[in-house]
């Protein structure tokens, strides 16, 4: 990699790393610390191919790497959680009401990883269906249906939680 490539990589990180980190936090539902580790790993892949991709929409490439890594991590985490919670607690745990924002985030985290990624890219990154499809390597139709089902599921669960 040339010095110019290196400098361009630094510029890219300065401009985009926070947004990528935020995307990772939202998609994998991890703490910022864990997400940073994930983003570091993803950026290492980007760095490895930087000389080739820097002139060809590196942001889309980087986002794709981050989102895929976040989905993978999220799936691993879910398996671990399922093992940990195989036996439900005997007593119900009081869950204080943290307001609508936390309720939404809780429901978002409950969605399957890929569906959550669609929601994050569509409604937080504000990407079009086509852009989201390209980032996730699926069809625009899949994005559309996943987004609709994800939103419906969140809506439904929020309504279930509303005291009558």
């Amino acid at each position: 990699m040339t010095e110019e490539d290196d400098a361009a990589f630094d510029e890219f990180l300065a401009a985009r790393s926070t947004a990528l980190l935020r995307t990772a936090v939202l998609v994998c539902g991890a703490s910022p610390h864990d997400a940073e580790d994930l983003v570091q790993g993803a950026m290492e892949k980007v760095y490895r191919h930087w000389a080739r991709i820097r002139h060809d929409n590196p942001e889309a490439y980087a986002r794709r790497v981050v989102v895929n890594a976040a989905i993978s991590r999220s799936r691993r985490k879910r398996v671990l959680q399922e093992i940990s919670f195989a036996r439900p607690p005997e007593t119900a745990v009081d869950t204080p009401d943290h307001g609508m924002r936390d309720a939404l985030m809780t429901e978002l985290r409950k969605l399957p990883a890929r569906m959550r990624a669609v929601i994050v890219l569509r409604y937080w990154e504000d990407m079009s269906e086509a852009e989201t499809a390209a980032a996730l390597g699926c069809s625009a139709g899949t994005v559309k249906s996943q987004a609709a089902r994800g939103l419906a599921r969140i809506r439904e669960r929020l309504l279930e939680g509303v005291p009558v």
């Binding site: 570091q40 939103l151 969140i154």
Partner: protein, 197 residues
């Protein structure tokens, strides 16, 4: 406010305080170096062929402008690696690795292991910088600019600001030679390093 808008707002608030570290670039580069240093199967196969001839070898693995080769200390094994795009170069004693002449290399064992009988000579193009960051200079100083790693299987010598040299001896070779001999041989290899041309 509909669900989409509420979600957008919730997500924005949730990550509002999240900021990437300004050290991310440095961490990525450091991590990249470590990945390069990790043993990979592709590299291991190559070393088998080199080790099988029971001859002193040095390898130069080109990994970019700054770091040309690496080997990493691992608890139970000393390993070296190549990345898929690198081109390995094999040299005998007296050979040149990335601008560094390797004046001395000991005879090593003749083992079946893919990476246990080799000796790796890696040249870092940024002098002591990467080596310092990676903790290669934390060991015992045995001569000027020369540091022996705590594992006893790795020695680092800084020749100048463009040639930091890391020498690693394979596990089987180290076992066969014995700890005292390994240290002596590593020091002799380090002493035998010089700038070529």
């Amino acid at each position: 406010m509909n669900t989409e808008e509420a979600l957008r707002e919730a997500m924005s608030e949730h990550v509002a305080e999240v900021h990437a570290s300004p050290m991310l670039g440095r961490s990525v580069r450091r991590r990249s170096r470590r990945t390069t240093l990790r043993l990979r199967t592709a590299g291991a196969g190559l070393v088998t062929a080199v080790a099988a001839v029971s001859a002193p070898v040095a390898m130069s693995l080109t990994a970019g402008p700054a770091v040309s080769v690496g080997a990493a200390p691992v608890t139970n094994a000393v390993t070296a690696t190549v990345t898929p795009t690198e081109t390995p170069v094999v040299a005998d004693a007296g050979g040149v690795v990335e601008g560094v002449r390797v004046g001395y290399l000991p005879e090593t064992c003749d083992g079946p292991g893919p990476n246990d009988c080799g000796i790796w000579v890696g040249v870092y193009g940024d002098g002591d910088q990467s080596l310092r960051v990676d903790g290669r200079l934390d060991g015992r100083q045995v001569a000027e600019g020369t540091y022996l790693d705590a594992s006893g299987k790795m020695i680092t010598r800084i020749l100048d600001d463009q040639h930091g040299v890391l020498v690693v001896i394979g596990d089987d070779a180290a076992r066969e030679l014995g700890a005292d001999t390994v240290e002596r041989e590593l020091r002799k290899i380090a002493e035998g390093l010089s700038l070529a041309g």
